[in-house]
Each structure stands twice: as C-alpha cells, then as structure tokens.
C-alpha cells in the first residue's frame, strides 16, 4: 500500500486497462484493483480512470461512492474493521467499537494521528459463531472483549506484529 505520484498512478491505470482490455463495464473491477494497490481512491486515480475509460469523473465518483468498499482517504498502516452483523450486535459488538474509538481517539472511517490504525465498520463477515468479531488487516479475531482487544492493540503498537 504505497501512495504513488500522479504519473505513476496514471501509468499503472493505463497499463491495467489496456493490458486486460477493460472497458467501462469493468469500472468496479478497475477501482478494486487500483484500491488494492494504492490503498484508497484518490482524486488522481479518479481523473486517470476517467481519462482512460472516456467516462466523466462524476460517473466514476458516483460508482465509487455507491459501494461501501471504496475509501477516499489514505488508510493507516493497519485497518481495523468492526463487524456490524446481527450476532455481533446481540453479543455486544457495539461496545467493542466504542472502546476502539476511545482507545485510538478516532471515529469510524478515520485514521489515527500517527497513521498507524484506521477504524472501519464492516457488514456481517459471516463468522457469527465467533461474535463479536473484528478484522485486523486480513485476520479475523473472534470472541472479542476489552482485555483481548487491549492485548491485540498492544502487540501492534509494540511492533510485535506487522
């Protein structure tokens, strides 16, 4: 997840679109691939996709903002997603979200000042038997409570996990 210069971003997008002969019907897939590489959808990315697909920027933004998956701010080094599924709700998932907001001093969709963590919400992850659940980067952590949460954050803060 490195943020490239506008030129580099443009080259990547041009190559992607021409190499895979993608057209407007693949806008969502292009956005997914670009976000996977750069971590978020920047203004440069939107204008570059718009140029290469010959589709107005506003339409690209319209699509990107419609889908929950796309981010428009630079994410932190680690992304924490709190599951908002029913089972997690019934088993106290909201409290986990609140503790995180307090511990990290950020709201949902924001990144900590030191750029270490971003906090997001995620629709049901489908591992309800482990509720309440959160996802740290790609790893699912189940049966969360405050003490496990503090331990988990501590590990990352101390740099034991990267």
């Amino acid at each position: 997840m490195v943020n490239g210069s506008a030129d580099e971003v443009d080259t990547f997008i041009r190559t992607l679109i021409s190499y895979r002969s993608m057209d407007r019907t693949k806008t969502i897939e292009i956005l997914q691939l670009v976000q996977h590489k750069y971590g978020y959808i920047s203004r440069d990315i939107v204008s570059s996709i718009s140029r290469h697909l010959r589709k107005p920027e506003i339409e690209i933004m319209g699509i990107a903002t419609f889908y929950e998956q796309f981010r428009f701010n630079k994410p932190g080094d680690h992304t924490i997603k709190v599951c908002e599924g029913t089972a997690c709700h019934v088993k106290g998932g909201a409290a986990i979200g609140q503790v995180l907001e307090r511990e990290l001093d950020v709201g949902h969709g924001e990144t900590t000042k030191d750029g270490m963590f971003s906090l997001e919400r995620v629709a049901c992850l489908g591992c309800c038997a482990l509720a309440p659940v959160l996802v740290m980067d790609e790893n699912i952590h189940g049966q969360m409570d405050t003490s496990r949460l503090t331990k988990l954050l501590g590990k990352y803060k101390k740099g034991e996990v990267s």
């Binding site: 806008t27 908002e84 029913t86 309800c128």
Partner: protein, 614 residues
C-alpha cells in the same frame, strides 16, 4: 460416515478450515498434527487433511478422526501431540477434547451422536466438512460430476428442467420462486447468448450459509451451475460474490480451474457440443445488489440500483439478454436432484416447500452454526434440539428469521413449521436463512432499530418512501430507545411501514419495515414501556440504564476497575467499588467482566427526563 479420504482403512485426521476455524488458527493445528504424525512414524497409516466448514463453528477449531468418527472440539495447538500420541498411537481417544452437551454436560465422542448433527438432514451441505474442497478428486469420489454426466448423456435440456420442476425446488435466496419454472422461462425466451448468474452476494447480517457452502463444497455449486446452463442454453456465466468472502472466492476459482482441466467446464464439456464458462465478480459491498436487477446492473459496472420488472431477467437481463439468476444453495441442490431423482427430493419437506432449508443459527444460542433440516421442521426443534437452547438458563424471547427483511417471532410461534408459507403468515419470511435467537436480555425495540439502521443505510435512494421513510422510522425508533418516545409513535411507525412496503420498487424497501411491524405485533407492550415508563424491560437500551455496583456483593477483585475504558470505577482491592455516573459511558464492560459467581455489577433503570422516578 464415508469420506473420500479413508481409502484402505487408513486413518484420516480432518481439520476444519472454514473461516471460523481458520481464525482460531486451524491451519497451524493442521501443521502441528502433520509434524506429530511424522515424529511418531505414523505417516504410512495416518493422513492429515483439511475440509471446509462443518457448520459447528461454535466448537472450533474442529478435528475429526475418520473412519471412526471421533469428534474433537476446541482443539488447541498444544493438543496436537496428545491427539497423535494418545489416540492414534496408543488407541485412547482424548476424552477432554470431546464435545460436551451444553444441557447435560455429557461428553460425546462420536460425530454421529452429537445432537447438533443427529437431527439434521444435509443435502446442500452434504460434502461440507467431509471432503477437501480444494481437491477435485475428493469431490469425484463422492459421486461428484456424476449428475452432470447423466444430464449431458441421458437427458435433454427439457428433461433437466422437468426434473427440477417436479422436485419442487424453490429459490433458496428467499423469495421461493420455483427454480424449474424460472429455468423454463429463460429457456423459452428469445435471444442469444443467454446468461447464467450465481447470486453469492450474501448480504443479510447474521447469515453465512452461502459462504460456508462455497468454502466447503465449491464443486457442488459449480456442478449445479453447469447443469443449469445446459438446461437453459447459456454459454456464459457469472458468480457474483461478496468481496468480504476472500476464502470463498479463492476456493471457487480453484474449483473452476480443476473443473476445466477435467473438462467439466469450458469448451465442449465432456466431449459434447455444450460449452460454458464462468467469470468471478467480486461485489463491492452494497446490500441492495443481492436484489437480482440491481445485481445485474452492478455486474455491468454501474451503481447497483434496482429497476422495475417486467421485463424479468429471464426475458431481458444482463446486456439485455435472457438471464437466469439463482442462489448458491439452489445450485448446490441441483446435482442431488439429478442424481437421486425428483421423487426423492420432493419426499423431503412439507407440502408446498420441498427439500431442506439451511439456517445460520446465531445469537443467544448454545450451538451456533449452520443447520440444515427438512423444510417444515418446527422452529422449536431447530432452536432447542439442534441449537441446544439458550445458554446460562436464560429465557427465550424471540427468534428473528430472514435478516433485515424478516421478522421477530415470539415464544408462542415456536411450533410453527419453518417453511415459506407458515413464516410468511406470521409476518416474517424464510429469507436466505439467517436465524438469530434472542433471550430475555435482548430488547426487541433495539433489534428493530438495529435492522432499520441497516436497511436505511443500505437503501439505494431510488424510491423516496424507502430512502426517506426508513430514515423517519429510524429516528422514531432511536427516540423510543432513548426514552424520548411519544404516545402516537407506534401508530406513526405502522402508517409509515405500510406506505414504504406498498410503494417501494424492490424487495429491500418492501420488506425493510418487517422487523418493526412484527415486533409491534408481538411485543407492543415493550414499545409502550419504553414510551410511557421510559424504561427498557430488558435493560439493553443504553440510554435507559445505569450501571451500579452492589456494595454488599462486591468482593473488590478490581477486575471492573482494570477493564473500565474511562476509569470511571474507584475502589481499593478487597473493598467495595463504586461507579461514577458522570464518567460512565455505559459500555457495560464492568457488567461483563464481573465474575459470574459475584455479579455485583447491576443494571438499573435510569429513568431519563420525564420518566418515573425522575
């Protein structure tokens, strides 16, 4: 229980690698088992293999020893050595890792004796947990792709449609439209090419049936899709999977690759002139895309906003061509219907709902997991016999079926058969299979608010009643749960609900008010208590409770003070603690951590402005 791997009396250790077990480190456990088997020189007689989800995620990580059928639950990394040494080498199964029945505390050693499995009938989930989903050989060994061979060599496309029609299979995505009829419309529609879509955009919170099916038996779904494509005459297919399900996506891609190598997919399948290929598309996180017209529009790269029907997808769908779209579980049922015949399938279930239903049983229930039962099985049996009832001897309050589109049913409805008709009459829906159990500590008004919060956020915004109506309903519900409800709020909610249901274009808006309507219908008194007395009878609505420590019961263990995120609890070790109301954010953590034997942290009514005692 026969598995594909227990050839020649070899012992096989099956380690579950569904999402739940993976997150509890099951891949490392598998490696540890492999290492232990090697170290004890048992490699010649013991295989270590992995499977998809067993459905009993609550008990994970799971290890099953075949062919005996010994079932180990909650296996930890350090247990690997003991399992191999004690059980495999010495022949003494490790009793402490057996499943314990939550009601009787009895340890049960065999998979087949565990009540959770004993009362199930698994058709869709037939292979989940028994075969390695990443190896086509194992699927072939359990008669995989036999149905496809049969369809292509012995049946015309119309025969296939006829068979599915006679089986009585209805759409497992929730609407329950007869699958065979859908196929026939699409086959008869003019237009070329025709498309086939598998809807794996499982968006209902609290539902994970499609995910587990794809993770545990991707070939089963794939085979069903190829048979359906043959029946309707489709040459190109899509599977639209949620991006939140990476493991399901990768297993399905793997299955496609090996199916191609074996000529079950691609050009001239099994040497016939029938060719069919599939493209995997990852949804980008919009609940409304589970609706078929929205899904198709999203698939074409646009904002997934539903459109009116007709024209139905069967006539004009993707790229304006005839398109057939079915749910994961519908496809997974097809190979079994072709193999065993329509009569066999339709002998299972109830009069108008044939076959089995898969539920994701979660919430306040002892055995969370995936449950597959004949259609029409009473809710009571699912919740109490299979699900093991409510933990900690709490009282059952309600069961929510059908996710945000469904309803909450009270105890007196527990004897209803779980099928499309009965649940519909009670005001809920079968839906795609989410089943969330609530106990006396769950507030139904809060649950209604939770679901409406979800649908309100996911409304695509096309229809005003859905976009703005759900917002107003949510505000009313938020006020009620915060003790600001007014007397006529219930009637306003009902009026709004009816307008939204009647005037929304797609299923999202048409069903969004269901959780509110059913909770008002069955639990009106709870709404009234919130509104009139400003009190939450379940003490779940945060703004209506305070936390207090009972000084006589507190043993001064300091656990609550240590865990309080805002340092609102004061007190010396071995002395009674006290919570500062000014600092308390009511997160409830003190209540959770207070030792069960002590239970000194109490929830009390807070009676905000205007309520009793204020």
């Amino acid at each position: 229980m026969a598995t594909a791997t227990n050839m020649e009396s070899k012992i096989t250790l099956l380690v579950c690698q569904g999402t739940g077990c993976v997150s509890s480190r099951s891949p490392e456990i598998r490696e540890a088992l492999e290492a232990a088997v090697e170290a004890h020189g048992l490699s010649d007689i013991v295989d270590v293999n992995f499977t998809g989800c067993h459905g009993f995620c609550e008990q994970g990580p799971l290890v099953v020893v075949e062919p005996e059928g010994i079932f180990y639950a909650h296996v930890k990394l350090e247990d690997a050595e003991e399992i191999v040494k004690e059980h495999l080498k010495e022949g003494n199964p490790v009793e402490r890792l057996f499943y314990k029945d939550p009601m009787t505390e009895e340890a049960i050693s065999y998979y087949r004796d565990i009540p959770f499995y004993k009362h199930q009938k698994r058709i869709v989930l037939r292979n989940c947990g028994h075969i390695n989903p990443e190896r086509i050989e194992e699927y072939l060994a359990v008669d995989g792709y036999k149905a496809l061979e049969k369809a292509l060599s012995e049946m015309t496309p119309d025969d296939v449609i006829e068979e599915v029609l006679r089986s009585g299979l209805r759409g497992r995505g929730g609407a329950g439209f007869p699958t065979g009829m859908k196929w026939r419309f699409c086959r008869q529609a003019k237009g070329d090419p025709k498309y086939l879509i598998c809807n794996a955009d499982e968006g209902d919170p609290g539902a994970f049936m499609d995910r587990s099916t794809l993770e545990g038996d991707p070939h089963g779904v794939l085979e069903g899709m190829v048979i359906a494509a043959y029946a309707i005459g489709a040459s190109h297919g899509y599977i639209y999977v949620r991006a939140e399900y990476p493991l399901a996506v990768s297993r399905f891609r793997m299955a496609m690759e090996s199916a191609k190598e074996n000529n079950f997919l691609g050009d001239n399948i099994l040497g016939t002139d029938f060719s069919f290929d599939i493209e995997v598309l990852e949804g980008a996180g919009a609940f409304v895309c589970g609706e078929e017209t929205a899904l198709m529009i999203s698939l074409m790269g646009k904002r997934g906003i539903p459109r009116p029907r007709p024209p139905f997808p069967a006539v004009s769908g993707v790229w304006d061509k005839p398109t057939n779209i079915n749910n994961v579980k519908s496809f997974a049922s097809v190979p079994v219907i072709i193999n065993r015949g329509a009569e066999w399938f339709s002998s299972i279930g109830s009069e108008k709902s044939k076959g089995t239903a898969v539920f994701a049983l979660t919430g306040k229930i002892a055995n969370s997991g995936l449950v597959e039962v004949p259609m029409g099985t009473p809710l009571r049996e699912i919740i109490f016999n299979i699900g093991g009832g409510i933990p900690e001897h709490k009282k059952f309050k309600a069961v929510q079926t059908g996710g945000p589109s469904g309803g909450c049913l009270p105890g007196e409805k527990l004897d209803l058969p779980a099928n499309y008709e009965a649940l519909g009459e009670a005001g809920s829906i079968m839906g795609s299979g989410g089943m969330v159990v609530m106990d006396e500590d769950t507030c139904v008004v809060d649950i209604a608010r939770y679901f409406l919060n979800f649908t309100q956020a996911e409304s695509c915004g096309k229809c005003t009643p859905c976009r703005d109506g759900t917002r107003v309903m949510l505000e009313l519900l938020t006020n009620i749960t915060a003790g600001r409800g007014k007397e006529d709020d219930i009637e306003t909610l009902k009026d709004l609900a009816i307008v939204i249901k009647d005037s929304s274009l797609c299923g999202l808006g048409q069903t969004a008010p269901n959780p509110v309507l059913t909770t008002i219908r069955y639990f009106r008194d709870e709404y009234e208590t919130h509104i009139v007395e400003k009190r939450c009878p379940s003490r779940a609505c945060m703004e209506l409770v305070n936390y207090e420590i009972d000084g006589d019961e507190c043993i001064g263990c300091t656990l609550c003070a240590k865990n309080c995120p805002v340092d609102a609890i004061a007190g010396e070790r071995k002395e009674a603690h006290i919570i500062s109301r000014d600092l308390c954010i009511k997160c409830g953590i003190c209540h959770t951590v207070c030792p069960r034997k002590v239970q000194a942290v109490k929830k009390v009514d807070s009676f905000p402005q205007g309520g009793e005692g204020s």
